[in-house]
């Protein structure tokens, strides 16, 4: 993608000279570094409820964020008007974080390196609404057809197409076009007038619309949601207290996101407020555990060609055979810690200051057969799907809420149990991983991660694992 062909040059008439002069303005008070983050975002969503397509919406927003770094300080301003005067004004406001004469007077921007992880010709956002509306109609029909006990279905399809451009005072100019699509389905089941139960499924990625035809169809997600709701009709009380927990493959990888991922974000470690602070090189998990954060997996929801600071994403080893190896870095923390950026600087939009974030976080496969892992547990809980999770990075306590789980009795998966939250401590929990399956799976593409009120799409993955000790928050 060339700057001269980008939407910023063609539609908004922004020139290289403009960018260079805005950066000079941003550093006019003596800051060490400045960047401009331009965003042009198209969004669409369609929803069906009671078999009626009740809503279809589209939106367009644009803006630029100007950031100035001066030592540990950050100045930030943004504008939703891309005229040169308004950008210059924002640059002037951001510049005020520094105090002194300008140290840099000339920039020459060169286009930077980036991956090509989502070579999507026509983004879903660019297709006809008539095609996309079929996805929610099909999901609705399939969920209802799955079983007569399904009595409510809602499906939401949403996509966006984000054009970004980052220009930095290091002289790097990067452009990216980021498509993203997601279909999610909620089904409610009821039996003999009893209380309803809910099931949920969804997925997508940085894909073309044909993904929902060739790879994961609306019927696939609909049946999953309906199946989960039906399973829950037979759920018994969840157990309470410490026990052996087996996590199924895929989405339960949210464990890694909460237990170790957030605690390894460099900002918390630079400030020494994370439970993982100063623990690099120490054992924080059993030797069976190798945890990766990889922003370079093709078409994945959590992947990016470049991060939101214009740095190419990469594969980062967080934990290797149980030993803590590294943090997720952004520009500010890496320069203050004397380390390299890891392509982890992300932000929700031009209105937000970037910070270290995860991309796709997963555990490498081990050697155990999943059946053997379940067979090894005399009494425990088998969790296959989760709602959200949360962590207190300072004391390391994390939770994640099981939405589909089963009792394991004498090595066999038996009855489904009601929703229960699992709780553990980040630097301790993975030390109890005693078996890792050979069935690594990534989630289907629905994750959203929130940090300091900024939400970004992420992915997780995990093989079947056995954790010998974890606290389960049931009532029985």
């Amino acid at each position: 993608m060339l700057f001269s062909e980008s939407v910023f040059a063609t539609r908004f008439g922004i020139s290289r000279q403009d960018l260079e002069s805005h950066l000079a303005e941003a550093l006019s008070q003596g800051g060490d570094y400045a960047d401009l983050y331009f965003e042009y975002l198209l969004t669409s969503s369609i929803s069906i409820d009671e078999s009626i397509v009740k809503s279809a919406a589209q939106g367009v927003s644009m803006g630029v964020g100007v950031r100035v770094l001066s030592g540990e300080r950050t100045g930030y301003a943004y504008s939703d008007d891309l005229s040169p005067e308004k950008i210059r004004k924002a640059a002037h406001v951001a510049a005020c974080i520094a105090a002194g004469p300008s140290k840099i007077d000339k920039f020459s921007l060169q286009e930077g390196r980036r991956h090509d992880l989502y070579p999507v010709l026509t983004a879903p956002t660019e297709t006809a609404f008539k095609e996309r509306v079929e996805l929610v109609r099909r999901a609705d029909r399939a969920a209802r057809a799955y079983d007569s006990r399904i009595f409510q279905v809602q499906a939401v399809y949403a996509d966006n197409l984000r054009y970004v451009m980052v220009a930095t005072s290091d002289g790097v100019l990067t452009l990216d076009r980021q498509p993203l699509a997601r279909l999610s389905v909620v089904a409610l089941a009821r039996e003999n007038g009893g209380p309803p139960q809910r099931g949920h499924a969804g997925g997508g990625g940085r894909v073309e619309l044909s993904f929902f035809e060739n790879e994961k169809t609306p019927e696939h997600f609909a049946r999953e949601a309906a199946r989960e709701a039906l399973v829950m009709l037979g759920a018994v009380e969840a157990p309470a207290g410490e026990m052996t927990v087996v996590l199924g493959p895929g989405w339960p990888g949210i464990l890694l996101h909460e237990a170790v991922g957030h605690g390894l974000e460099a900002d918390f470690n630079r400030k020494k407020v994370s439970a993982f602070t100063d623990r690099i090189g120490q054992k924080v998990a059993s030797e069976l555990c190798t945890v990766i954060d990889d922003g370079t997996i093709g078409s994945r929801r959590g992947s990016l060609n470049v991060d939101d600071e214009g740095h190419p994403t990469q594969r980062n080893v967080l934990i290797e055979n149980g030993i803590l190896r590294g943090y997720l870095q952004d520009r500010l923390s890496s320069s203050l810690m004397g380390s390299e950026p890891t392509g982890s600087g992300r932000r929700e939009s031009y209105e937000h200051i970037p910070m270290p974030r995860m991309t796709n976080t997963f555990m490498l496969a081990g050697e155990s057969e999943p059946e053997d892992i379940i067979r090894s547990v005399p009494k425990g809980l088998y969790c296959v799907s989760f709602g959200g999770g949360q962590v207190d990075i300072t004391n390391g306590n994390f939770v994640f809420s099981a939405s589909e789980s089963y009792l394991i009795e004498d090595g066999k998966v038996t009855r489904p149990v009601r929703n229960a939250t699992l709780i553990g401590n980040g630097p301790e929990a993975l030390k109890y991983v005693s078996m890792v399956g050979n069935d690594l799976r990534l989630d289907e593409g629905i994750g959203v991660c929130g940090k300091e009120n900024q939400h970004v799409p992420v992915g997780v993955g995990i093989p079947t694992i056995r954790i010998d000790r974890m606290t389960v928050g049931g009532t029985a």
């Binding site: 409820d49 279809a56 644009m62 939703d80 409610l188 410490e242």
Partner: protein
């Protein structure tokens, strides 16, 4: 842009929509200015300042709807906005319940609701930074064990909200708020804990003193040091007001009209029934001057009002917008809520649990063995079934007193039983946000631990 200008813009969008084939239209325009200063370890860490605006339109063609939004308020941007909403009505279905409020339903609350305080806009940057510095300083100097800080922040927001529709409604209001917060980190030996405290107000004058914010944050962080994981057991659980607010949030989700008509709530179909203990009265009131859930009209142009949700344990009303009201054969309660675009959802005004008769100390004093929860973690509340299971930390209650800190445990029960078993309510109701609750006690929950 001036108030008049934005109101004209909204009316113009409505007019254009009707001229383009819409049978009804509604337009929201929002404008905001935000400021944020963070200090950390006595130094300024970041400053952020900016303004933005946007417009959204929802149109009906008969009973089919389409919506769009834009941050491009140029004439071309507005033209595209209207055109794309009209196009979208083509892909949606006829929905007999869709539509705008009836003429008699629209209007605004009269009188000054005190949503805007000019001192927020006039405040100098230096004073905002100084307030954050004072709050952090008070936390850092509270105790030698406060060894670090995630900082303190001073944030302000000034907004203007405009709404117009094709049934003749057009009005606007301004809002302001400022907030001060501190997040100190305490350490003692191997144990490290953080906590926060904040104060929110419509105007600068309404904020708690920075020193008070910092000291309270420090007190909360310090009392969490060296926590114990207790044995799994069933005990009475006391929620401090901050955590009780979260429980009220779950009750709101359960009386949310959209969840009710979809049978996605354990309170669906229970109007007039006893769903909570006799002591429990829950109110939604969007008209209390100066509070955070207050507004003159909702996002469909219906006046805000006071609605009794639960009265002495009996479920009296759901919270509704026009759509949910039509689905349920009821009248809107003026609780429509939306962003710039899309069909209206449902929000709350000031949603609160009326205060009880006992001071928090009196509630604790009567408990021989129990758990005082000061923080919950996670998303383990299912309003379809009422199943409640959250991570929790707090202090253990022994013989009526707070004995030692507890963490890495869960609390679980079903909301149906929790509401019926809510047997003590404190006198300490404070509006620190748009959801408020005093200290409350639930007779029995399962604490999951060792």
């Amino acid at each position: 842009m001036s108030a008049n200008h934005l109101l004209e813009l909204a009316l113009d969008v409505v007019k254009r929509a009707l001229a383009s084939g819409a049978t009804d239209a509604e337009c929201t325009v929002a404008e905001g200015e935000e400021f944020s200063a963070n200090v950390r370890l006595r130094e300024l860490e970041s400053l952020k300042e900016a303004g933005s605006r946007g417009a959204g339109v929802r149109i009906l063609v008969g009973t089919k709807t389409g919506s769009s939004s834009t941050s491009d308020l140029s004439p071309e941007g507005i033209e595209r906005l209207v055109k794309s909403a009209i196009e979208l009505a083509d892909v949606t279905n006829e929905d007999p319940h869709a539509g705008l409020p009836e003429p008699g339903e629209m209007g605004t609350v009269s009188g000054d609701l005190r949503l805007f305080s000019s001192d927020v806009a006039e405040l100098e940057t230096e004073r905002k930074i100084a307030a954050a510095k004072s709050a952090e300083e008070a936390a850092l100097s509270a105790d030698p064990r406060i060894f670090n800080s995630e900082g303190a922040s001073f944030d302000t927001h000034i907004g203007r909200h405009v709404f117009a529709n094709s049934r003749g409604f057009a009005a606007e209001y301004r809002t302001s708020y400022c907030s001060l917060s501190a997040v100190p980190v305490a350490r003692d030996g191997e144990s490290m804990e953080r906590d926060y405290w904040d104060s929110l107000a419509r105007g600068f004058a309404g904020l708690e003193a920075p020193e008070q914010v910092g000291r309270e944050a420090a007190r909360r962080a310090l009392r969490r040091l060296h926590p114990v994981k207790v044995e799994t057991q069933k005990v009475p659980v006391v929620f401090d007001p901050r955590v009780a607010r979260g429980l009220l949030g779950s009750i709101f989700e359960a009386v949310h009209g959209m969840s009710v008509y979809r049978h996605q709530s354990f309170l669906a179909g229970k109007l007039g029934e006893k769903v909570a203990s006799d002591q429990m009265t829950v109110i939604d009131d969007g008209t209390i001057p100066g509070l955070f859930g207050t507004s003159p009209f909702d996002d469909e142009g219906v006046p805000s009002r006071r609605t009794v949700v639960i009265e002495r344990g009996v479920l009296k009303n759901y919270l509704l917008n026009c759509y949910a009201a039509r689905k349920l054969g009821m009248k809107t309660t003026g609780n429509a809520s939306r962003g710039l675009t899309g069909n209206a959802g449902i929000g709350h005004g000031n949603f609160y649990l009326e205060k009880g008769v006992k001071r928090p100390e009196q509630i604790l004093a009567a408990i021989p063995n129990g758990f005082y929860v000061t923080q919950v973690q996670g998303f383990g509340v299912n309003v379809v079934t009422g199943d409640y299971s959250q991570g929790a930390s707090g202090l253990w209650i022994r013989n009526g007193e707070l004995a030692f800190p507890v963490s890495e445990v869960t609390i679980a029960a079903n909301l149906k039983e929790m509401l019926l078993g809510l047997d003590e309510i404190g006198t300490d109701l404070e509006f620190r946000g748009s959801v408020a609750a005093p200290t409350l006690k639930v007779g029995e929950m399962t604490v999951g631990g060792k």
